[in-house]
């Protein structure tokens, strides 16, 4: 029994070790155009640029950024984007949302808009643009099953690129504070010798963590810049 357990534990340990060294490369950069900083009681909201403009940012990526920005004792106060959009209906729908900061003044002049934003203490709107795409892949893997059992043989690999840009709008000055971008590339592979062993690169999760950390630093750490 112990031998059987060891026989299972060994490949699992190898798999975990290989997974931890998954092939991921990332680049993060920011371009600041204004002074940032956030006071107690102020909050941020994460939005996706409109799909009317061809943007494909995933809902789960928005939620991931929200979670990461709000996490920990230094976490920012994040207003869930759904709550924000509903509270300002219809002015942040994909069709009506402002596309540029120059439109903010007109938006704030609409009935009730400035009040709703103030009630929620929203200081920054962060607009996400980008998505995660499979950009390459190859290899061959085939599986077969019969009355006596089944198995897979071969090798497959694929590469995903997660490229996201975040534009930070400061609602205090009704201007852009700058942009932060994260470009992450990850290659996953799956060898199979009877049993397939997946080594998955968590490209989107890495892009989320990287961008959220940089956004946090961008907003918080530049009070005196």
């Amino acid at each position: 029994m112990k031998q059987a357990r060891r026989a299972i534990q060994a490949p699992v340990a190898i798999l975990m070790a290989l997974s931890s060294t998954a092939c991921i490369t990332s680049t993060v950069q920011d371009a600041r155009t204004g002074v940032t900083g956030i006071n107690e009681g102020e909050s941020v909201v994460i939005m996706a640029k409109s799909y009317h403009l061809g943007n494909e940012t995933e809902l789960k990526y928005i939620r991931c950024i929200e979670d990461n920005l709000g996490r920990g004792k230094d976490g920012l106060r994040v207003i869930p984007h759904g709550q924000f959009v509903d509270s300002l209906f219809p002015w942040f729908e994909p069709r009506t949302a402002p596309a540029e900061t120059k439109n903010l003044a007109k938006l704030m002049a609409r009935p009730g808009v400035a009040d709703r934003i103030a009630e929620q203490g929203i200081r920054y709107i962060i607009w996400l643009d980008g998505d995660t795409e499979r950009v390459a892949g190859g290899g061959s893997l085939s599986c077969a099953a019969g009355p006596g059992g089944g198995g897979c043989f071969g090798f497959a690999w694929w590469q995903k690129d997660a490229d996201y840009d975040a534009s930070v709008w400061d609602l205090q000055g009704l201007e852009s504070a700058g942009t932060v971008s994260a470009d992450v590339s990850g290659t996953s592979f799956m060898p199979a010798l009877v049993v397939p062993l997946p080594f998955i690169a968590r490209t989107q999760a890495k892009a989320c963590k990287t961008l959220a950390d940089q956004l946090h630093a961008f907003i918080v750490q530049d009070e005196t810049a």
Binding site: S50, Y51, H52, L53, E56, E58, L59, K60, D86, S87, L88, F89, P90, W91, E93, P94, R95, T96, A97, P98, A99, E100, K102, N103, K106, R110, P111, G112, V113, R116
Partner: protein, 230 residues
């Protein structure tokens, strides 16, 4: 369970897997931030607003049945309740000219279309709805005939395609609501019907200044124009 029973179950599963039924829950639109139009309108909705079902066989793929239920009716009742000072829902036997109304609005659905991730080669469902809004004055003259094209898109989730398609449909309805809030009066001039003398009819107008003013929002189509007027 014997072998034939297992095979039967598998076959039934395969057959049901070739058709998808989606039933939309009645949506609730948030209370909009807008300036109410100070007129009383009557809202007369056709039968298919109460139970609209779209059926389509995607070539080489599944058969889809999308039941929008009362969602269209609920959308217009809620939206117009917010947009106008007074709204009266008219039944088929009600005569609007005998009621104290400034205008009558008759919405209908011109077209409903959708695309699946397999068709668009993306991970999203998309829904297009084209409504048609006919506006009549107190004398029953058609003063505006406005096609409203709306679009919603939602990515597939672990909950499956049905949920994503429902969300895309609701987003399309919200899109239509946003467009109507932005441009209804500009396109149809419905507010002018409140104090119009009984012998005149509202002019068929092309949208102008507000159109230009709205150019800075992410409007994408030509829905701001009416294609005919009575």
């Amino acid at each position: 369970m014997n072998r034939s029973a297992i095979l039967g179950t598998l076959l039934a599963g395969l057959i049901s897997g070739c058709s998808s039924n989606v039933t939309l829950q009645t949506p609730t639109i948030p209370e909009p931030l807008l300036e109410q139009i100070p007129i009383s309108i009557g809202l007369r909705m056709p039968d298919n607003f109460q139970h609209f079902v779209h059926e389509e066989k995607v070539y080489g793929r599944n058969e889809w049945s999308i039941d929008l239920g009362r969602s269209n009716a609920a959308l217009f009742e809620q939206l117009f309740g917010h947009m106008f000072a007074g709204v009266r829902i008219l039944g088929p036997d009600d005569d609007p000219q005998l009621l104290p109304l400034d205008a009558l609005i008759e919405p209908s659905i011109d077209a409903f279309e959708f695309s699946t991730p397999e068709q668009s080669n993306t991970e999203a469902f998309a829904v297009w709805i084209r409504y048609r809004l006919k506006v009549y004055d107190r004398e029953g003259q058609l003063v505006s005939n406005w096609p409203v094209s709306a679009y919603g898109k939602s990515q597939t989730t672990t909950m499956g395609g049905s949920e994503a398609l429902q969300r895309a449909a609701i987003l399309a309805m919200r899109d239509a609501a946003a467009l109507m809030i932005m441009k209804f009066d500009n396109v149809t001039r419905i507010s002018s019907l409140a104090e119009k003398p009984a012998t005149e009819t509202a002019p068929a107008v092309e949208p102008e200044s507000e159109e230009a003013a709205d150019a800075d929002v992410q409007t994408t189509a030509l829905e701001g124009t009416q294609d005919e007027a009575g």
